[in-house]
């Protein structure tokens, strides 16, 4: 039985290849050369997910943040903005409850909720099962809302095109240097809840500098779901990622 999600590992495409190539025998004892990355298992599932999504031309985004940075709210508004032009599917991750999926469902985006129980991050194996359930159509958009946690999800590639990290202005502008692993592998930083700036001690410029220290290639936008056009920079970035011509020239 799979120690990650409890499924039986009978689907052969999930078996990994052994890297070892020889062994030495001395007496009865053998030295078995293994040379295998311990994260290899998750990385294989991630590669499978990536292949699956690429084959269906689905652009995918893994939203990560501390709990309460505004992922679900941003996602609901984003789906409402995108839905006239794009088919959107969502994979929600939380330890317990369907509450986030319930907030997304009124948008009519197909949504699957993963409950991770004691685990504090999504992993590629669980996401693979959710994809099977979701069966997203070709040429569509997939959002994965990860479990609220700035530490552990950083280690787990899910097979997404882009990791998007959210930091709200209520959290402190030094988040990037306190949790560098998450920002190092992100494509985009979204600084959220900017309507609250007058009430908090958040220095946006300082946050940007800290973020660039950790990842010089990071793109950074600022949003507010409560201000007119408050999501425009985020939506523009998204449209660029979804535009096949933009990607052709950018890569």
């Amino acid at each position: 039985m799979c120690g990650v999600c409890g499924c039986s590992e009978t689907h052969n495409e999930h078996r990994h290849e052994h890297n070892h190539d020889h062994d030495h025998e001395y007496g009865q004892q053998k030295l078995v050369t293994i040379e295998q990355d311990i994260m290899a298992e998750n990385n294989q599932y991630a590669a499978y997910n990536r292949g699956y999504l690429n084959a269906r031309r689905i652009r995918s985004f893994n939203l990560v943040s501390s709990p309460g940075a505004g992922k679900t709210c941003l996602l609901v508004k984003t789906i409402e903005a995108l839905q006239s032009k794009h088919t959107v599917s969502v994979i929600e991750g939380d330890q317990e409850t369907e509450r986030d999926a319930d907030k997304i469902r009124p948008t009519k985006a197909a949504t699957v909720q993963i409950n991770t129980g004691k685990t504090c991050h999504l992993d590629a194996h669980r996401v693979g099962h959710a994809l099977e359930q979701l069966d997203p159509p070709t040429d569509s958009v997939l959002f994965v809302e990860n479990v609220g946690n700035l530490v552990c999800p950083a280690m787990f590639d899910l097979g997404e095109n882009h990791r998007v990290v959210l930091v709200s202005v209520t959290e402190g502008d030094d988040k990037p240097i306190k949790y560098p692993s998450m920002f190092e592998k992100a494509s985009l930083l979204v600084i959220t809840k900017n309507d609250l700036c007058p009430y908090v001690d958040f220095d946006s410029e300082r946050c940007r500098q800290y973020a660039y220290e950790v990842n010089p290639y990071l793109t950074i936008v600022e949003t507010s779901t409560y201000q007119p056009n408050g999501l425009q920079p985020w939506l523009q970035w998204l449209e660029n990622q979804l535009d096949p011509h933009y990607n052709a020239t950018a890569s």
């Binding site: 120690g3 052994h18 070892h20 062994d23 007496g27 009865q28 004892q29 053998k30 030295l31 078995v32 050369t33 293994i34 040379e35 295998q36 990355d37 311990i38 994260m39 298992e41 685990t119 530490v151 552990c152 950083a154 280690m155 240097i177 560098p180 692993s181 190092e184 660039y212 220290e213 950790v214 010089p216």
Partner: protein, 114 residues
């Protein structure tokens, strides 16, 4: 990080290899861990001592850890240096545009078994 669940992945690899080579007893396991990897070595050692007692295969196995020294390359001036952290700037030109060449490994190199 999750040294316990990392240990479970580690033990799955050990069991698979023991099975492939018809081994009943693992005497030692050698891991390669980069000095800048996000694995907490003390927590890993502790988790190992718990996990190894769960089956007779690994009950008395000794854990060896080979540390890998970190080494970075500056993309701007091509200088190579030993960084203090993943995000250490280049000592030559002070840029942050550097890449880690080695030092964040976390793999199982080999095991001795019979």
């Amino acid at each position: 990080m999750h040294e316990m669940s990392l240990c479970r992945s580690l033990f799955r690899i050990i069991e698979q290899n023991a099975n492939d080579y018809n081994c009943q007893q693992v005497n030692s396991i050698t891991l390669v861990i980069g000095e800048l990897s996000s694995v907490d070595i003390e927590a890993l050692k502790f988790a190992f001592t718990i996990c190894q007692k769960q089956q007779s295969l690994t009950y008395n196995a000794t854990l060896y850890i080979k540390a890998i020294e970190p080494w970075s390359h500056c993309r701007q001036c091509d200088h190579e240096f030993r960084p203090d952290s993943r995000f250490s700037p280049c000592p030559q030109c002070a840029t942050l545009n550097v890449e880690l060449l080695q030092g964040d490994e976390f793999s199982i190199q080999s095991m001795e078994a019979e």
